[in-house]
Every structure is written in C-alpha cells, then in structure tokens.
C-alpha cells in the first residue's frame, strides 16, 4: 500500500512540474502571438494600436502579473479551459482536441495493445521452441520489419494497396460524404479507412515486441528455477507460462506502458502520411499555424498521458513483482 501512495505522490509532483514548465516556456520566448500575427498583417498595410488591442482581446492574451497569470493558468487547467484555438477559430481548444482524441486513442491505442499481445505471444512461442523453424525464420523476418522506416512502409502501402490495387482509401479517417455520427454507415467507413494505418503501425512495431520478449524469455529459460520446475515434472505449459514467461514479462511491461503513453501524442508520422484526423495530425497543424493555445494544451495532454502510463507501469510492476512492492530485493 505504501508503495502505491509513494508512486501517486511522485505522479502528482512530476505532473505539477510539467504543468509549470508548460506555463513558463512560452513566456520565455520573445514576443507574443498577437505581435506575430501583427507582423503578418503589417506587410499589407499599417496597423493601428486599436486594431492591435482588438486582436489581443480576441485571442485572449493574458494580462496582469506573472503570478496572477500562473494562478489563472492553473485554475483554467483544472476547469479544462485551454482557451481558443487560433487555427480553428472560433472553436475552443478543448473542442478541437475532443474531436481528434478518439481517432488516435481508438486506432493507435488498439493497434499498440494488439501488436503487444500478438508480439509477446509469438515471442514466448519462439523462445520456447528456440532454434526450431519458427524461431529462426521469425527472428530474421521481424528483425527486418522492425528496422523498416515507418514513413516508407506507409507510403509503399498507400502506393500499392491504395493507388495501384485501389483496395483501400489513401487518406482521411472516414469518407468525405459522411458526417461523424454514431451509425453503422459511418463506423464502417471509419474502419475501412483505418485498415492501412493500422496495418502499417502493426507491421513496423510488432517486431520489437516479439524480439524483446523472445530474448528476455531465452535469458529466463537459463535460470535455475526453470530447471527445477522441469525436474519437478510440471507440465510444459506451466513451466513456459507460469515460470518462464511470467518472469520474462516483467521488464517488457515497462516498455509497453511507455508506448501506451505515447499513444495520445499520436503517431505523428502515420497521421501526417495518411492525413488521419487524430492528435498527431492536430499537433502538426498547430505547429504549422503557430497555434500556441492548442500546442500548449496538446503538450499538457501528452505529458499527462506519459506520466499516467509511467504510473500505471509502476503499479502493474508492483502487482507483478513482489520484490519491487516490498521495496527492493535483498
């Protein structure tokens, strides 16, 4: 119990530091968004101070001392108020993120979980039958796929399956003729559009899970307790799963939780290549348009999810490994 309290405390502390950094960093940059916009307009003609003031009010630029800004900022975060997006004006930042988040969470999240489960199971199988046909072919094949650059795989898939064979749409999250509502028609279209992005992520990431698990498991198979379990006449499945895989999984859990944390940040490359309406695409849009409120909110959510994922990893690790729970092995 003490372990979980300590970990929760640590989570809150790091979260606070991250939020504060997120507050400070934009303020360390010279100028402000209104000035940046003004500079653009100034090329077309002179701007009066009234116009500049109007623009600052419209964008909701902060006023008052740094200290009061900070408290305002903290209370805004607690209320989920991240201001107005510049690039999607007049939509609020929250509304923009709420539109993008489900796309990324569902697609990238599901694929991340799926590739982890499939990759780990295949890794266990390969390690248990090490040196046999499946192991030697899988090791070579997946070393190859995990070394492929993602954008290249995505472009090749678009070219082959989208352009030449015309099996799948080449971009977007759903058919342009539909509006995002919850019905079968729309769901079907969304699934159809997600096949290529999902496949490309799956293919490029499963190798890491498989090889990681395989190598860990082979190390574990050399442990004395595996030898003893075999000498005890336990069934093959018990030795492979309860004794070997259970222990080999421990370090992998951390990696998995980390990659789950990365899901919210979106797969920037995937969403850019496929013009997929998720968080990664949003991040790219915000960057290109100097949309500070949106960027700040995105950073906040990405940090939050990474920290939460780390916290989850710690908690799961504590459940799985008694040595961690009791405060370190003796």
């Amino acid at each position: 119990m003490k372990y979980f309290v300590r970990k929760t405390g640590f989570l809150l502390l790091t979260l606070w530091i991250a939020i504060t950094l997120n507050f400070i960093l934009p303020r360390l940059m010279p100028g402000n968004p209104a000035q940046a916009m003004m500079a653009k307009y100034a090329q077309r003609g002179p701007i009066t101070p009234t116009e500049e003031h109007a623009l600052a009010l419209m964008l909701g630029l902060p006023t008052g001392s740094l200290w009061s800004q900070y408290w305002q900022y903290l209370s805004n975060i607690l209320h989920g108020n991240f201001g107005v997006s510049y690039s999607f004006y007049p939509l609020s930042v929250m509304a923009v993120i709420a539109n993008a988040l489900p796309w990324t969470l569902i697609l990238v999240g599901l694929v991340t979980i799926l590739q982890f489960i499939v990759g780990t199971l295949l890794g266990i199988y390969a390690a248990w039958h090490r040196g046999k046909k499946f192991d030697s072919s899988a090791t070579v094949l997946f070393s190859f796929t995990s070394a492929l650059p993602y954008f290249w795989v995505a472009l090749m898939f678009i070219y082959v399956f989208g352009y030449i064979l015309n099996w799948f749409p080449i971009s977007g999250g759903y058919s342009g003729s539909l509006s995002p509502t919850l019905n079968w028609n729309f769901a079907g279209s969304a699934i159809y559009h997600s096949v290529l992005p999902a496949l490309t992520i799956f293919i490029t990431s499963i190798g890491g899970s498989l090889l990681g698990m395989r190598n860990n498991m082979i190390n574990t198979l050399g442990e004395d307790y595996i030898l003893l379990a075999r000498a005890e006449g336990l069934s093959e499945t018990t030795v492979a799963i309860r004794y070997a895989a259970r222990n080999a999984l421990l370090p992998i859990v951390t990696n998995f939780a980390m990659s789950l944390g990365m899901v919210v940040g979106g797969s920037l490359l995937m969403e850019t290549v496929f013009a997929y309406p998720g968080m990664g695409y949003l991040l790219a849009t915000a960057l290109n348009n100097q949309d500070y409120p949106l960027l700040q909110a995105l950073f906040f959510f990405i940090t939050l999810s990474v920290l939460l994922a780390n916290f989850m990893a710690d908690v799961i690790y504590g459940v799985l490994d008694p040595r961690v729970r009791k405060g370190g092995a003796r």
Binding site: G131, E223, D224, Y225, L227, L228, A229, R230, A231, E232, G233, L234, S235, T238, R242, Y243, R246, N247, L250, L320, D321, P322, R323, K326, A329, R330
Partner: protein, 323 residues
C-alpha cells in the same frame, strides 16, 4: 535402487569438437544410501547428476548407456513417463538455492504447483504436508506466505530440501547444495539432511567439490576425475587410506589437525582437455606413481572387497596388465 551402467554424456559443439563430460560411468546406489560424489570443477560430476535425472538438454548432447531406477531405464523413457516419475521418484536440490525459486511466486505456491502436478488434490492435505515438511527442516511454517527474496540463503536451502522431499522421493540428488553458504550453516544443513535421510529412508546423491564435507556427510564416496569414477568406497575405508593416487592427492590437500606442523600439498597440473581423445589413464600427467602402462592402457573399474578403483597399481596386483 539406482544402477548406472556405462553412461556416456557427450556435449556437441558447433565447432566440431565435442566434449565427453561423462565417460563410461558405472555405479549403483542401494536404497537408503547416502552417496557422495566428489571431484574438481569440470570433472563432469554435475553433468552426471543431471544426466541421471534426465535434465540435460538432449538437443545439445548425446547420452548413451543406461540409468536404471528399480529396473526401469530412464534414458529410454518417453517424456510423458518421465514427467510422472520426476519428483515422485527423483528430486533435486540445486546449488545455494539462490535462484532455485520462481521469484514471483510465494513459497507455498511453488510447493502446491508440484503437488497439483502429481495429483495431490485436497488443499488441506497439501497445506498440512507443507507445514510438516517446513518443521522437519526447522523452519517456521509461517514462511509459506513469504516470497523467495525474503529468505536468507540458508533458509532458502532448507526450503529447497523440504521441497525436494514433498512427494517422498526414492532418490534426492543434491548438486553442490551448500557451496554458497558459510561453514556454520553448511554443517547445520548437512546434519539436518543426514537426520532426514535416516528418518525418511530415501537415498541421496550428494555432489560436491569438497571432499572433507562429503566424508563427513556420506556413507559411501565416489571420486570422479575427467569424466570417470576412479574410486568408490565406504567412507570409513577411504579414511583408512585412499587407493587411487588422485584420491590420495585430494586427501593430502587437508591438514591433520593433530599435526605439529601443517603442510598442505596441492595437486600440480590441471585436468585434461575432454574434447580430445585420451590415451591411457587420464590422470597420468599429474600422477606421482605413473608407470609406462598408464600411458598406453586405460585402467578399467576393478571391484575390490568393499569398493572399486580404476588404477593400474591394482590391476597389476590382480594378475597383471593387459587381460
């Protein structure tokens, strides 16, 4: 009764040269005997122990010969027959017990895993049995709820011994069971083991590099050198005087506590490379009593009145070399 007949274990190497770690071993362990097996590192004693328990990875080596337990040949058994027999008839205890337990399972779960695998169904019976065994090895039954990392090395080794006895095996093979422990804990564990063995009447194969410890613990001793058993005797016979020059050299590594001046002798040289074919006796280069015959002919196991030895010094006495 365990009988090992002409057992060979050859480790295959990918680079062509295979290593014969066990080279034609013959011996038997009658029921209820505490047998010690001594030899220096790399002599094949652990390989022999694991080969008897059929725990060697058959992909990397060749085993020939036979290991008969009550007349049944373990080498010829299918893996299903073996699994039934494992722990029920032959149990093992590993070195130090450090990593002998699954770190994520409680001690109790590791006991119940074995008992369930061998069809001991009722939870209360199992709990009672485990608690009883822990008391036998002088541990508090409350330790059942502990995880392996919460135990000290000595405690772990006691638990490992208790675990080996859970199904009342006929033979317990202990591979360097006390090597990672200090001498005080070592002695306590050996004494406990002797008592358990007399009480529960299983036989023991106690593998160690420490001749002194084995002489203290065992009833009979086998001395292994370069993959062969060179001498086998009851402890009291060996203490009266070793037959094989190697055993003699091993004994002289220990000092006589009553001597006024202690002088220790090591054994010069090092054991032979087992990946090369050997001609004659493997101990020749280090032997102080080597004769010309030793270089040409490999000495065979010779049954004596109360033991056996493989050395030309004795073949000669029995009627000459070259029979």
């Amino acid at each position: 009764m365990l009988e090992v007949k002409d057992l060979w274990v050859k480790y295959r190497s990918q680079h062509g040269r295979s290593v014969s770690a066990v080279r034609g071993v013959n011996f038997s362990i009658p029921d209820g005997t505490f047998m010690g097996l001594v030899g220096e590192s790399g002599c094949g004693k652990s390989t022999l122990g694991f080969a008897i328990a059929r725990l060697l990875n058959s992909q990397q080596l060749e085993i020939s010969g036979s290991v008969l337990l009550n007349g049944e040949d373990l080498i010829k058994m299918s893996s299903r027959e073996l699994r039934k027999l494992r722990w029920d008839k032959i149990a093992i205890v590993l070195q130090g017990g450090m990593n002998a337990f699954n770190p994520v399972l409680k001690i109790k779960q590791q006991f119940t895993d074995v008992m369930k695998a061998h069809g001991q169904g009722r939870a209360e019976d199992r709990d009672q049995r485990i608690a009883e065994l822990l008391r036998h090895v002088q541990l508090d039954p409350a330790l059942l709820e502990a995880y392996p990392h919460e135990l000290s090395g000595g405690m772990k080794q006691r638990v490992a011994i208790a675990l080996s006895l859970v199904l009342n095996p006929e033979l317990v093979i202990l591979d360097e069971p006390t090597t990672a422990l200090d001498v005080i804990v070592q002695k306590a564990i050996v004494e406990m083991l002797q008592e358990l063995q007399r009480h529960m009447k299983f036989s023991v194969l106690f593998i160690s590099h420490d001749l002194g410890l084995v002489l203290e613990a065992a009833e009979r001793v086998m001395v292994m050198y370069a993959g062969k058993i060179v001498e086998e005797e009851p402890v009291e016979v060996l203490l009266e005087g070793a037959k094989h020059p190697y055993t003699e050299a091993l004994l002289s590594c220990y000092g006589d506590p009553q001597a006024k001046e202690l002088r220790f002798k090591g054994i010069p040289g090092s054991p032979p490379d087992l990946s090369k074919p050997l001609q004659g006796c493997s101990f020749v280069p280090r032997c102080s009593k080597a004769m010309s015959a030793c270089r040409e002919l490999e000495p065979q196991r010779l049954e004596l009145e109360r033991g056996a030895v493989a050395c030309h010094l004795y073949t000669k006495m029995q009627g000459g070399i070259g029979k």
